[in-house]
Assembly symmetry: C2
Homo-oligomer: 244 residues x 2
DNA sequence: TTAATAGTGTCTCTGAGACACTATGTG
DNA sequence: CACATAGTGTCTCAGAGACACTATTAA
């Protein structure tokens, strides 16, 4: 909008052929040594039987953030997650039925809060075919094979992983992927899983302990076959993140 | 979209009350020691007489990037700019007339390529009331006073400045704000103007010379009252940037 | 006692800030 | 020559990698 005012004055929003607006949410978690995403199976064409991101149309009276939160509630009862707008995908032809522009969101959740797999829902490990923050599409593995993904959702997943990797070092996003308390080793493992690369143990410990982000709980691991590590808690804003 | 398929099957896009979709473009430049944005004056309500970002509705058959490029062409004949999607603003009520979701873009342009001021167009200096990448709304000055900005455009400008500051150190975005050739001093001045803070001369020079981004031209400044500096050229991808 | 990982101390390397010093144009 | 800024050389300091060494638990 802006100074198309003369045009806008007589503008009847229903009179034009306009794009539809949707949100798609990339729900990421780290479990069993892999970065995983929540995907649903499409039961109808197009892309029938393919995996797809949970999503839905934006209602006329709700904000984009609210639409994303509504999708999360409806597809698995997820609440109070770290949630952030990712990018808006709007190429004509990304949906063969009609023009749909989709505002993509990323949500981060600790594995124990992920809804149970079953029905049309699955939490599939991602294979990232590029290093660092290079970017590019990302596949999801189902029964060891790449699951066909609907629409441009491989690209959306790729953008989400790229963004998450980029934020990892300078934001507390990583704590949204961990339970309430965790050891430094847990923290490092999650970090490495997201990055898809190993990090230096010593400097990782130092950086995190120096950062002021961590609060020692006084508790220690139990039932481990080695010296038990101290459990820490994220000392910043609790739980979720930028949006709820 | 996704597995709302049962719902979607019988979906008639015209039957629902849906948000309209627009693009707004923040065209930034650095001139006369200030970060400046291209703004137009609204001639009609709402916000009649206020300054606003150039923008327009997204057509049914064009991509979002194409819509942003079209707006740039139409509002000042700007072509081949560094252009990047910024964020999508979609709060209900951001436009008092109707629900409009706007995909904001940032464009960077060297000052000599900025279209002439006049008519409803102005290139106004921005005052950023926060430091670093803290974020928050940003005002534009017109005749020394803050110009009233339409809609949520102060917030969009703020997000644009925040994003640009964040990218400055690790992307070649800054070269889009400079002419074909420039001295290291020019480069540093633009950097400082965008950041709103001074940077260390020595380490700035070293970093840039080490980066491999610069190519010496062999030419030197002329008609300066001091030792003339060498002119450099950006050695990476020429001219524009991520999108054209 | 051994295996295995937690956690500490310290050396080195690299990049940034600080600062002094030289170079080279105009007036 | 004076002035102003370009450009270089070098010292110091802080953070990261490397690595050796100690600590603590279960089996």
């Amino acid at each position: 909008m802006t100074d198309e005012s003369t045009f806008l004055e007589g503008y009847d929003p229903a009179a034009f052929d306009r794009p539809s607006l949707a949100v798609d949410v990339v729900v990421l978690t780290v479990a069993d040594g892999a970065l995983r995403a929540l995907l649903v199976r499409r039961s109808e064409p197009p892309f029938q039987g393919c995996r797809a991101l949970p999503g839905g149309f934006v209602r006329i009276d709700e904000s984009l953030d609210d639409a994303a939160r509504r999708v999360l509630r409806d597809k698995g009862g997820l609440r109070d997650l770290w949630l952030e707008q990712l990018y808006t995908f709007g190429d004509p032809g990304r949906d063969p039925r009609m023009r749909i522009v989709s505002v993509a969101y990323v949500a981060l959740v600790a594995p124990e809060r992920m809804p149970p797999t079953g029905g049309d829902r699955a939490v599939l490990p991602l294979t990232v075919p590029w290093a660092g923050e290079a970017g590019g599409p990302v596949e999801a593995l189902e029964e060891g094979r790449p699951a066909p993904l609907a629409f441009d959702h491989a690209r959306i997943l790729g953008t989400a992983v790229q963004r998450l990797r980029g934020k990892l070092d300078w934001t507390p996003a990583i704590y949204a992927l961990l339970p309430e308390t965790f050891t430094l080793r847990d923290l490092q493992r999650v970090h490495e899983t997201v990055l898809g690369a190993e990090v230096n143990k010593d400097s990782f410990r130092r950086k995190k302990l120096m950062s002021g982000e961590l609060e020692a709980t006084g508790e220690r691991e139990r039932d481990v076959v080695h010296r038990p590590a101290e459990r820490y808690r994220f000392a910043g804003r609790t739980g979720s993140g930028p949006a709820r």
